[in-house]
């Protein structure tokens, strides 16, 4: 266990950024999101939730897959280079780290997504414990301990000092690289902090949400439930929930005509959008109710069924805060809770 005073963090970031890219919560025009660090960046480590989750670091909202160059009537293909440079994501929260694990199940199982895999290989995650969890948080429901995040390095911000604990080889390597800035520390303060955090988590309104009836194979009753018909109605069909979510992994592949050829890129898609999974024959979900249901059935049923019970929601609460219509996954879970015996 090491520690570093908050006033030395700038030096720490400089040190890290000297030979790799560094992503961390930065405030731009009043909003905090994970961004590449620069000398003049306004770093905000005390922000609990960045607007977007940091999944961009591994699975960017838009990324090029390859470029076709057109010369006369010939077409040549230039593949996109994979991530080669090491990078550090600093300040990820436990829920978001769990989000990356959800993505891992999708992108690192066969067939492996090489773009994602390359980023995972080259990325080091420095986690930050949640000092003051908020009412929209419900990570506890998914067995996540925001007081003790598990990543390459775990850190705690306690009374103006960042406590630093490497947990993996990557973490050790990073620690070594910045060793000159770190001082040794004992764990007592950290344990105190953990206990304090856990005590707050207990008090959070959503912490005792029940997942009973979700994540089960026989889901047709739930699929066919009339509850969806009522639930979806306020939904505006925007993609806010999807794009702020740390686990949503759907993407669309599109071509952009650059005038000299075509860039094939992929970009996040949202199951809330009317052209989601649009195919030549049409769309297999052609009402907003169906698309709405898809989102939650996927997160709470299909995904856990296929991934040993791991839910594809991590309780970060971003959708709770950001939905323009104040809809969210908690309301969905509760709606079925109120349905009583129904699965």
């Amino acid at each position: 266990m090491y520690k570093i005073a908050a006033e030395n963090l700038q030096a720490l970031f400089q040190k890290i950024a000297a030979d790799q890219d560094l992503y961390l919560p930065v405030k731009v025009s009043d909003q905090v999101n994970f961004k590449a660090w620069s000398e003049d960046a306004e770093v905000c480590l005390d922000t609990l939730k960045t607007v977007k989750s940091p999944k961009d670091a591994f699975f960017p909202q838009s990324e090029n897959l390859y470029t076709c160059k057109k010369e006369e009537k010939n077409i040549s293909i230039e593949p996109q280079a994979l991530q080669e440079k090491n990078f550090v994501v600093f300040g990820m929260k436990a829920c978001d780290i769990q989000g990356v694990k959800v993505l891992d199940n999708v992108f690192l199982s066969d067939p492996i997504d090489t773009f994602y895999a390359a980023r995972r290989d080259h990325g080091t995650i420095v986690a930050l414990a949640c000092h003051e969890p908020e009412e929209s948080c419900f990570c506890k429901v998914f067995g996540i301990d925001c007081a003790d995040p598990v990543a390459d390095v775990a850190t705690w911000m306690i009374e103006g000092e960042l406590y630093w604990k490497p947990l993996t080889e990557k973490g050790e390597a990073l620690t070594k690289a910045v060793a000159e800035l770190l001082n040794d520390a004992d764990e007592a303060k950290v344990e105190e902090e953990k206990a304090a955090i856990r005590a707050i988590v207990e008090k959070l309104p959503y912490s005792n949400l029940s997942l009973e009836g979700w994540g089960q194979e026989d889901y047709m009753d739930r699929f066919n439930s009339p509850v969806w018909e009522e639930l979806y109605k306020p939904c505006l069909a925007c993609g806010t929930c999807t794009f702020v979510c740390p686990t949503c992994q759907c993407y669309d592949i599109k071509d952009y005509d650059t005038g000299h050829g075509v860039q094939r890129y992929r970009c996040w898609d949202s199951c809330m959008y009317s052209d989601f999974t649009m195919m030549a024959h049409g769309n297999n979900r052609n009402s907003q109710m169906q698309r709405f249901r898809q989102r939650f059935m996927h997160k709470l049923v299909y995904y856990p069924v296929n991934n040993n019970g791991m839910f594809s929601c991590v309780g970060c609460g971003r959708c709770v805060e950001k939905c323009p219509s104040s809809l969210n996954i908690v309301k969905v879970i509760k709606a079925f809770e109120n349905q009583g015996g129904e699965k």
């Binding site: 470029t67 952009y256 650059t258 005038g259 000299h260 050829g261 860039q263």
Partner: protein, 147 residues
């Protein structure tokens, strides 16, 4: 150095011309051998009111350095009222582009009648000169188009 690059800079300029007045005006400039820089490329539209602001943004996105729209003089529209609508649309669009920090010289509307070959050529010469002074459009171009 900067002078050198300036000399090399050949702007891409899109001119939307209505079929009845300004395209004919451009034809007249041609038959009167009134030259203007080859950087200007004309797209024929039936009326200035056919020009969707989206076309103009599209041109900038794809790397145009200037976009000019020509139509019949107010009162002379072949379709009576088309250029009046176009005038309002373009006024608002240009104002918006100015508002978001795009140099306002990159867009222009000029009313050119079928008899105004001289005006057409003069306008194009002026416009190209203006674009030269502004240099390359970097604020609206989609960087992907450079690759």
């Amino acid at each position: 150095m900067s002078i050198e690059t300036n000399e090399e800079f050949r702007p891409k300029i899109v001119a939307f011309c209505c079929n009845w007045c300004s395209y004919a005006g451009a034809d007249l400039a041609g038959s009167s051998r009134l030259s203007y820089p080859a950087d200007v490329k004309i797209i024929r539209v039936p009326c200035s009111c056919r020009v969707n602001p989206m076309f103009i943004l599209r041109a900038f996105e794809k790397g145009a350095d200037g976009v000019i729209m020509c139509g019949c003089h107010p009162g002379d529209c072949h379709y009576s009222t088309g250029n009046y609508y176009a005038r309002r649309r373009m006024t608002l669009l240009f104002s918006m582009l100015d508002y978001i920090g795009v140099e306002n010289g990159r867009t222009r509307v000029e009313w050119v009648s079928a008899a105004e070959g001289v005006k057409f050529s003069q306008t194009m010469n002026e416009f190209v000169e203006k674009i030269h002074s502004l240099g390359k459009n970097v604020r609206l171009e989609d960087l992907r188009c450079r690759s």
